[in-house]
């Protein structure tokens, strides 16, 4: 069964450093998403991406965040200057027929 894959599974970084989280969505899906989940809290929407551009973004997705689809398969989330509060699990997802398929996530720890 096709699945969304994310790398790395864990990322530890120093505050102020840049991180790039990588995702390979399911190949025939057209809508891509990033969500985050702070430990013990709800899954929160960050950004959606369609047709090579951002279609929606939340208040969390400020100027420190960016997304890119550099080629036909990868979908990346970049955080330019990480803050302690960016520590969370970040999930990539792709959508077909209103069904979201999530990756296993990247656990980001900012020290």
């Amino acid at each position: 069964e096709p699945e969304v894959t994310q790398t790395p599974s864990h990322q530890v970084t120093q505050m102020g450093q840049e991180v790039i989280l990588r995702c390979v969505p399911i190949s025939n899906h057209l809508y891509f998403y990033w969500y985050r989940q702070i430990l013990g809290q709800k899954v929160e929407f960050l950004v959606s991406f369609y047709n090579n551009e951002i279609s929606e973004k939340s208040e969390i997705f400020d100027d420190q965040f960016s997304v890119e689809r550099p080629d036909g398969s990868n979908f990346t989330l970049k955080i330019r200057s990480t803050k302690l509060e960016d520590s969370a699990m970040y999930f990539c997802a792709s959508l077909t027929f209103e069904k979201l398929f999530f990756g296993s996530g990247t656990q980001l720890s900012v020290l």
Binding site: V4, Q6, Y31, Y33, Q41, K42, V43, E44, F45, S48, S55, E56, F91, A93, L95, E98, K99, L100, F101, F102, G103, S104, G105
Partner: protein, 114 residues
């Protein structure tokens, strides 16, 4: 503001018993609801969905019930197995709004005891 929430943070059931996980929603405009299962260290996994034109929908060992009058959603899992141990959360949205409009609940941790 509008919110999706769960009544119980933790539910413990004996293996083989049935379990019921509840969810309340407050956005009366929502017409599409989804239950997700999240196992430790994994991403949320789609279990079952229901649209507001239905009251009940059944899957394999799972049933979702929707009561629009009281804005309540439940997930019933029949004959629970150890593999059912996970956090379950509901999500709501308005059809056509895409996944951007999905509002997730916090989750109920289902524990299956042997």
């Amino acid at each position: 503001g509008e919110s999706v929430g769960l009544h119980l943070p933790t539910l413990s059931v004996q293996e083989g018993d049935n379990s019921i996980i509840n969810c309340a929603y407050s956005n009366s405009a929502s017409d599409y609801f989804i239950w997700y299962k999240q196992e430790s260290g994994k991403g949320p996994q789609f279990i079952i969905d229901i649209r507001s034109n239905m009251d009940k929908r059944q899957g394999q060992r799972v049933t979702v019930l929707l009561n629009k009058t009281v804005k309540h959603l439940s997930l019933q899992i029949a004959a629970t197995q150890p593999g059912d141990s996970a956090v379950y959360f509901c999500a709501e949205t308005i059809s056509g709004g895409g996944a951007d409009g999905l509002t997730f609940g916090k989750g109920t941790h289902l524990i299956i005891q042997p």
